[in-house]
Symmetry: C2
């Protein structure tokens, strides 16, 4: 199975992207990688690496889309960019079933939408990361930023798509689905929440467990948390900011806290590193753009080879699970049931 | 100056509330406290305490409003509750200029709205906590939960009210005001953000610095962050959840990490405690309910005497700064300017 990789996307591209692809080839012998980007640069990185050459293909692309480009304009006009050529390859080849980029989020979403296309029936594709939890399982947050203004039906679709995603990636049969709100009680929430709550409750294919507070996103008590993209972004970034601040304060406390604190800090260094590693959701792959016809994974902009490798394996796993097809079926069943009940 | 205190509100009332009031009397000789609640219980706690009796008054109230009560119904019908009688005292006495309760948030907001009344011109009162930041200054978040569905003009009023609040509590002349959004660029945000952005930019009395990402709430680069109450709740709770998870994971790592980690943890205990104390926004007082005619401070439900004492001193400080009057003036100037420009 071929995974197409935008070799020039991301702050550390192409070096870390190419190395990540090499690692993925090593870790999973079923994976084939198509690296799209500046052929000379890619080849010079590969020159010192050992890998199975039969499973690696290079597609030359001389142009690059950056964060400064307007996403829609860039996808339309930068035909020779690694991102556009990668999408073109994905669409033109049936055996290419997954896509990974660490490039501009906006351009990846626009490209996926325009080139790969929306699954029939899906009202809005959505971006869904998997966050680590205190219980060691993961939790899918959907949408985390693709759709800033949503209607209730969009949130219902996020739940159906997120369910297919959580089933594939977390290995849970019937994911516990919660709606992000300002309290756990059924009556809590803004207007959008109230409407979405009723739709989610009525959808029999979902294991809807009710509202969830932002405080409990990381407890591990939910497998999938549904929200509009604006709130998802706020929840995700606020958690990131708090984690960064706490770790920063701890470091300040250790450095400025005298000999006792310094020795304590030294002894605890591996523990601290372990915690940061466990809680770093970027290390475990990327966010999946759910609701388009093929698997599209957006890896973090600062991705190192480990994240790129994880994103490639994640894309492969989602393709093996036929997640886009499962989403198509879930949405179409929901629409049929809706039609029957009307 | 009298501060009226709901002695029965909060998980640890009346004990911690009464002890907090005693501490406040000790810390600030200008403060007088009116404790409203079960007189026998209050007196039995006071029996072993030393305090200036001339500055402490008790108003007997036999009933209590709990978190299980419907806020509106409780304020309307529980006339003998400590909360309602405290509000009645506040409204009936000109020298009572501030109010503190650690009771049901809903009931405190409804009570303040119905009894104390909205300042003329304010479209929606809002709840505003002060969060600690990495730079050691504080940042006001407004609204953090009183209004789940907002219009742009509400956010403009949150900014004007929050400015008066930040000036009084943070001691900054011209607070840096930011709008919570899903990115720092001017074009980021949902529909509400876009509209609010234009209003905030056009309001000359504000030092509006643009959009702020949730990741940067705690950096200390802003003095006031404006958002609707739903997003404010998400941002606040998500940060709390992440902090709790990180600290929990660290504890797990220390306990399960062998001798080295255990010794490290022991040595670092004071540092860790210091960090948690610095980052615990509940320890520094309560959230102010801005936009009503007198100073109303909602202390955290789990408030211990230290938080209650801080909330009482905070209420006094806001009254000294004439924050309700400053809010009235800010809103009325904005309306006049609006009328002129139309």
């Amino acid at each position: 199975m071929k995974i197409v990789v935008d070799a020039m996307g991301g702050d550390l591209a192409p070096l870390e992207v190419v190395l990540g692809a090499v690692d993925a080839l090593e870790k999973d012998k079923e994976v084939c990688v198509v690296l799209v980007g500046d052929e000379d640069k890619i080849k010079s990185i590969l020159a010192t690496e050992k890998y199975d050459e039969k499973r690696l293909e290079i597609v030359d692309a001389k142009d690059v889309i950056t964060n400064d480009d307007s996403p829609t304009m860039a996808i339309k006009t930068k035909k020779e960019s690694s991102l556009v050529k990668a999408f073109d390859y994905l669409c033109a080849n049936d055996d290419a079933e997954g896509f990974v980029s660490a490039g501009s989020t906006g351009a990846v979403l626009v490209g996926a939408f325009m080139k790969v296309g929306r699954i029939k029936g899906v009202s809005r594709p959505a971006l869904a990361p998997i966050l680590p939890t205190a219980k060691g399982n993961g939790v899918v947050l959907c949408d985390c930023g693709a759709n800033v203004d949503c209607k209730a039906v969009n949130l219902l679709h996020f739940a159906l798509m997120g369910k297919a995603y959580a089933t594939a990636m977390l290995g849970v049969e019937n994911p516990r689905v919660a709606l992000l709100s300002n309290g756990v009680e059924d009556h809590k929430g803004n207007e959008l929440c109230h409407e979405a709550f009723e739709l989610l409750k009525a959808e029999k294919s979902l294991n809807f467990v009710g509202n969830c507070e932002a405080r409990d996103i990381l407890t591990g008590d939910y497998d999938l948390i549904v929200c509009d993209g604006f709130n998802g972004n706020i929840a995700l970034k606020s958690a990131e900011g708090a984690a960064t601040t706490i770790i920063g304060e701890l470091k300040k406390g250790i450095m400025g806290g005298g000999l006792r604190a310094k020795i304590g800090g030294l002894l605890l260094k591996p523990t601290l590193k372990g915690v940061m590693k466990r809680m770093d959701y970027n290390a475990h792959g990327g966010a999946c753009f759910l609701g388009v016809n093929k698997v599209v994974v957006k890896s973090h902009g600062a991705s190192k080879k480990k994240s790129i490798c994880a994103s490639i394996l994640q894309a492969k796993s989602l393709a093996v699970h036929k997640t886009p097809e499962n989403i198509r079926q879930a949405i179409s069943s929901q629409k049929e049931n809706e039609a029957v009940s009307e």
